[in-house]
Amino acid sequence: MNTTPSPRLQVEDLNVGFATGGAIVNAVRGVTFTLNREKLGIVGESGSGKSTVGRTLLRLHPRSARIEARQLSFDGIDLRSASESTMRGIRGRRMSMIMQDPKYSLNPVMRIGEQIGEAYKAHHPASRAEVMQRVLEMLEAVRIREPHRVYKLYPHEVSGGMGQRIMIAMMLIQQPEIVIADEPTSALDISVRLQVLAVLDELVTQRGLGLIFISHDLNLVRHFCDRVLVMYAGRVVESLAAADLDRAEHPYTRGLLDSLPSIDHRRKTLPVLQRDPAWLTT
């Protein structure tokens, strides 16, 4: 394992706005957090700015985005002012992102093994045989049983769960220090979801990665992550240890938890979230 000091991400007072028409829409407002070797969950409804935070870290936004922060640094590198070439060295190599839907994120006309190999070659000069060896090892690491067979398949020939594990393999073959997983299991069945989570968990623990896990599934985050940020309308309304989620105090977090139908606690009517305009400012 590497012996470098733990990778550390520092975000302080992050604001992201998009110019649409003449007006500026503030998608993220005053978000502050740090990340070490841990699993950090970001939860919230659609449109709350969770994915925008993830994309900001990799600078994947269009030029029209206005990103302001008091601090935005990764391992001492200031991400606000880093040049494009520095970013290319970070993106994929040291910090990578797993997208939501393998169907749209894999190249449909390229064999799976070649796609993963391409990701590796982008940062590591190696011979064809070496690359292939690395890819097969990686496929095995994400628990694909017949790596040689899967290597030669095209994306449409694999199931959703396998596709998602292939995405994970592609991201982890670079051995990044931080992985941002944007709803990596939302498109999957419960049984497959647990397999993918177990794979992620094992790799995070073994390799000492920092993981940012973006999800709208509170139950899942509660059991999978170490720490949780709850976002509402671009702001972090609550930040707490995942185990303490039951004791969440913010009415929004409470409302989200309450509105889940449960097999152990059956109710005639589910409480519906009552939104308070004050949440936007306080």
């Binding site: 139950n219 097999i263 152990d264 009517t269």
Partner: protein, 266 residues
């Protein structure tokens, strides 16, 4: 009396060596006014059963009966009026260039029912929207509002059976609660019969009284939801689903167990 009877339902796609049997001796009954859940992983055939009931597939074998009348051949208008379906994705199931009014009035025109305007207003009111939504396009609605319109479209023909294909899985949890409450209210008020497909046992516990668990085109277990919640399921796959929706505890449900319980292909 059972309003829906499904007996020895078999369905195969493809021919000869390519043949793929997707439903295998599926059998269940739903009482009038009951609410029946179908759960299982993707590809287990849950939605296919709904499509057979809705008349979207016609080459099945076995016996399907609705209200004591055996189904077969082309679905007629009377059956379409009696059985309506709500789809998973409210973003895909509404025509992007039709207003809410056009979408809701179309089934009325097909079935030659008058009083379009009043009926549209009444049904919008029933699903918690108002007449102000009549001339909106789908892109001007939120996800929850779209699913309400899709439910209104199914209800406007006053069906007795509603087939629900994952009606809330594309929605946020906060919106899911609203739609589930609406479905509960409609169920109680109008005595509708539901067949609900989902992979979320929490939704089943909230809305259904009986549930069948499907795996690879077969029903592996049928039981009352009360028994399910009391932990009386015996099939390993059902137990795995139960554990998974209770806790997501990775340590307890080890991957090896999932493998054997889920028996994935490939």
């Amino acid at each position: 009396m059972a309003i829906i009877e499904v007996n020895a339902l078999n369905l195969t796609f493809g021919h000869g060596a390519e043949a793929n049997q997707v439903l295998n001796d599926v059998a269940f009954e739903v009482e009038k006014g009951g609410s029946f859940g179908l759960v299982g992983e993707s590809g287990s055939g849950k939605t296919t059963v709904l499509r057979c009931l809705a008349g979207q597939y016609m080459h099945w074998q076995g016996r399907l009966a609705i209200g004591g009348q055996a189904l077969g051949g082309k679905p007629d208008k009377a059956r379409c009026r009696q059985v309506q379906m709500v789809f998973q994705d409210p973003y895909g199931s509404l025509h992007p260039r039709h207003t809410v009014y056009t979408a809701l009035a179309e089934p009325l025109r097909i079935h030659g029912i008058g009083d379009e305007s009043q009926r549209v207003d009444a049904i919008l009111d029933k699903v918690g929207l108002n007449a102000g939504f009549r001339y909106r396009y789908p892109h001007q609605l939120s996800g929850g509002q779209r699913q309400r319109v899709a439910i209104a479209r199914a209800l406007i023909l006053e069906p007795s059976i509603l087939l629900l294909d994952e009606p809330t899985s594309a929605l946020d949890v906060s919106v899911q609660a609203e739609i589930l409450n609406l479905l509960t209210a409609l169920h109680e008020r109008d005595g509708l019969t539901y067949v609900l497909v989902t992979h979320d046992l929490g939704v089943v516990a909230h809305l259904c009284d009986r549930v069948a668990v499907m795996q690879r085109g077969r029903i592996v277990e049928t039981l009352a939801v009360d028994d399910l919640c009391a932990g009386q399921a015996w099939d390993p796959y059902t137990r795995m689903l139960l554990d998974a929706s209770r806790s997501h505890e990775l340590e307890r449900v080890s991957v090896g167990e999932i493998r054997t319980a889920a028996r994935p292909v490939g």
